[in-house]
């Protein structure tokens, strides 16, 4: 698995875990965050309170979802897809593609119904920027 891969060393994973946890705990409307490679391997995630989640499956699904979204966008002549949203009665799921020097990744943010489209997108953009910067700096 990539967690133990050269591309993503343990020290970087620890850093990501801590950044994701900081964001998740500072934003009330954010339930949890998951970061995976574009091909579906889990890289890092925040630790959601009170729920058991299988991040192996969530990472794979997030990358499948991003893959389908990207293809749908391309098919409808919008080639540079950046992210996609799933709306539910109880909240939002937002996926963003991250392109960094070393790797393509998918960031998934799961928001509860205290959030709305604007806040959710704005929050996830900020998190995406921090993570991308961090990944780009890391050699």
């Amino acid at each position: 698995m990539l967690g133990e891969n050269l591309a993503f060393p343990p020290t970087l994973k620890m850093k990501c875990d801590s950044v994701l946890n900081d964001f998740a705990s500072s934003e009330n409307h954010l339930s949890f965050l998951s970061l995976s490679t574009a091909d579906g391997y889990s890289l890092s995630h925040s630790d959601p309170a009170h729920v058991e989640l299988n991040f192996r499956r969530i990472s794979a699904m997030a990358s499948s979802f991003a893959g389908i979204s990207k293809e749908l966008a391309r098919e409808t002549h919008h080639p540079a897809m950046e992210g996609s949203i799933i709306e539910c009665q109880t909240g939002f799921l937002v996926c963003r593609l991250l392109k960094t020097e070393h790797l393509d990744a998918v960031l998934l943010g799961v928001f509860n119904n205290e959030s709305n489209h604007g806040i959710a997108l704005w929050t996830l953009n900020n998190i995406a920027k921090s993570i991308t910067d961090m990944l780009n700096v890391y050699k």
């Binding site: 579906g40 699904m61 893959g67 393509d104």
Partner: protein, 186 residues
């Protein structure tokens, strides 16, 4: 509306599912490729993360729909979804590896697609294979009492893929024969 019959391409990462579908589809296929971060498993640029979809048109009403699964195991949640309603599957396998890995893949995919396996609706197409690999698969099938055809096929070669489709269709056509005898058989 076009009436599509579904044929599935299964097999592990790097087996050539996307390549095969691209090779025989009439339309440019829909692909969901992402950069491959598991180059140690299969050294190629990209890997499928959701599915491939291609089509062969028969006439203005009928088509064969070609679906490719993402081969990596963490995508196995998609396999039963993609398998629904499939007439059969072409099971591609890259044999440029150890006997053990080949056997593990046979076991994994024959189990995960057991509905198709039990209906003999799978054709095993080996690539980068030699006759030893063919015997290995043949023997494995026998030991496990599984009755499926095995052949060598290069997923980049249209004729090879068509030959595999032909075998798959031949087995599907046996099911179109009257029911009565099928109950007696076995």
């Amino acid at each position: 509306m076009i009436n599509g019959t579904k044929i599935l391409f299964i097999g592990p990462m790097g087996a050539g599912k996307t390549t095969a579908i691209t090779c025989i589809s009439d339309d440019p296929p829909i692909k969901t490729e992402a950069s491959n971060s598991a180059r140690h498993i299969s050294d190629k640029q990209t890997t499928t993360v959701a599915m491939d979809f291609g089509r062969i048109y028969m006439d203005q009403f009928n088509a064969i729909d070609l679906y490719g699964i993402p081969g990596q195991e963490h995508f196995d949640f998609l396999w039963p979804i993609l398998e629904k309603g499939a007439l059969g599957a072409i099971f591609l396998l890259n044999c440029d590896t150890t006997d053990q890995i080949i056997q593990n893949s046979l076991e994994k995919f024959c189990n995960d697609f057991s509905r198709l396996r039990d209906n003999s609706a799978i054709v095993i197409a080996l690539n980068r294979a030699n006759e030893n690999a063919v015997s290995l698969c043949h023997n494995w099938l026998r030991e496990n009492n599984i009755v499926l055809p095995v052949l060598m096929a290069d997923p980049r070669n249209r004729d090879d893929i068509i030959m595999t489709l032909e075998l798959l269709i031949a087995t599907a056509e046996v099911d179109l024969l009257p029911e009565g005898e099928i109950h007696d058989a076995g």
